[in-house]
Amino acid sequence: MRRLVSAPAAMNSPQPVRVQASARGRPVVVAGERVESVREDWLHRFRWWTDDPLRRHYYEVATVTGRHVVVFRDTFTGRWFRQNA
């Protein structure tokens, strides 16, 4: 029997995305689409009291094709992810 969907899991997990950033660290190209404007950005510091802290800098951007995308940079690893926030 073919299983059409995955097992129950957490939803909206971050997905890796290719991002080019400016010298100031702001995204300029997201998944091959140039960023028209950064609508909003915010910083999350989470689980800072544990051995496994999280620190993410989120950006809500509008691309030249008119899409609105939320990406964040893990400030510990420098990797970029896409997520619906």
Binding site: M1, A7, P8, A9, A10, P14
Partner: protein, 403 residues
């Protein structure tokens, strides 16, 4: 020691692993060598220590002693937090290993189990073969005793040395029990409260209890005394082996140190997942085990017996949610396991027949068809777990759709 059976009555084997909980909590028997160690009092109970190492015992510390008294007797006493989840897992594994040699096991507290060897003699080539198989299977150097009753086997196991089982024949059971200390009664929950009172009166052996006479014992010690005398006379209840059940467990890590709403929502996901497991085969659930790994070191475990066997997620959740209040500290992981199944049933508590019932039946049929086509996880629903979490991936989860 007798190696030959003299009759065809029950032949109970007792397997005793001393200090089982302490060994698991310390990570092995080697860590206990020469160290005065005890399991620290748990948050919910009174400030009394649990199992103690041999070194601590030699310095006058006993299990169940008040923490202050234990530290006064042994200032170098080290306390380790209990780990009921790991203890339960290790004990379950040990019992299943015993069941693997063909035994119908009646598990007592962790570290103590009984089975009737009468049906296994042919399979393992006699009682020695059964005992050797049990000792080899457990790998924890158990003390093994055998006798005509459960209590007699227990007394023999407590007196046995590692790798040398003690076997008591039926004809010598009373004589053997008469020489055993009254502290043996501590290992039975019905007679445990009796021991301090008996010892204060200078009664040191089980034979002394028998000599008091049935009337005097009943008058002075009540029902526990009557039971103790019956046990000392080699009369005991028959074994009640457990039924071998499927192990159904669901667990989930909590991203934030969980408490309040997050815990409740996570529990809801676990209940739904458990009920959606195909291994349940439509059976209802009679009892569950709710456990948690705590933020601070240690674990927490609660056995929840439902008033009746049900498979209704809302009613199960109602029973479990109340127990969450007993968590001593926030948790980092939650686990839910089925302890006992009830009979299989499809429709429960249908009060009204009519259009709604027909619609529900149609929906159940549709759900069944979709699952048959696309697998058990084909239908999911989105559950808001922690709506206020700053991390988007923690706010919602997908959980099985239950009709």
């Amino acid at each position: 020691m007798r190696r030959r059976r003299e009759n065809r009555g029950p032949l109970i084997v007792c397997v005793h692993v001393p200090r089982f909980q302490l060994r698991v909590a310390c990570g092995g028997a080697a860590e206990l060598l020469g160290a005065a160690v005890a399991i620290a009092p748990s948050g919910a109970a009174a400030m009394r220590i649990s199992e103690v190492s041999a070194s601590a015992q030699a310095q006058g510390v006993q299990a169940g002693m008040a923490l202050g008294e234990a530290l006064a007797r042994c200032p170098k006493l080290q306390l380790v937090p209990g780990d009921p989840i790991r203890v339960e897992q290790a004990w379950e594994q040990a019992v299943r290993t015993l069941e693997g040699i063909g035994a119908h096991v009646e598990p007592d507290r962790p570290g103590l189990a009984y089975f009737d060897a009468a049906g296994l003699l042919g399979m393992h080539g006699g009682l020695d073969g059964v005992i050797a198989a049990a000792g080899t299977a457990l790998l924890r150097r158990p003390r093994i005793g055998a006798g005509p009753t459960r209590f007699c086997a227990l007394a023999a196991a407590l007196a046995a040395r590692p790798r040398r089982a003690r076997i008591i024949a039926e004809c010598e059971a009373r004589r053997y029990l008469a020489t055993q200390p009254v502290s043996t009664l501590r290992h039975r929950s019905e007679t445990e409260p009796l021991v301090p009172a008996v010892e204060r009166l200078g009664i040191s052996t089980l034979g002394d209890i028998v000599k008091l006479g049935a009337g005097a014992v009943a008058d002075r010690f009540g029902e526990p005394g009557t039971i103790a005398r019956r046990l000392a006379l080699a009369h005991d209840e028959p074994l009640r082996p457990r039924r071998v059940e499927d192990q159904l467990t669901e667990s989930m890590k909590l991203a934030d140190a969980g408490s309040g709403l997050l815990l409740q929502r996570t529990l809801e996901v676990l209940v739904n997942r458990l009920l959606a497991r195909p291994e349940r085969r439509g059976r209802t659930i009679r009892a569950l085990i709710l456990s948690a790994r705590l933020v601070e070191r240690g674990t927490w475990r609660e056995h929840v017996a439902l008033r009746e066997a049900i498979a209704d997620p809302h009613r199960i959740l109602l029973a479990l949610t109340a127990r969450l209040q007993l968590l001593p500290t926030p948790a980092v992981a939650l686990e839910l396991a089925v302890a006992e199944f009830g009979p299989a049933t499809d429709d429960q508590r249908t009060l009204l027949d009519g259009e709604r019932t027909a619609r529900d039946a149609r929906r159940r049929k549709a759900v069944g068809q979709v699952r048959a086509l696309a697998g058990p996880h084909a239908l999911l629903r989105v559950l808001v777990v922690a709506p206020d979490s700053p991390l988007p991936e923690h706010r919602t989860m997908s959980t099985p759709w239950l009709e």
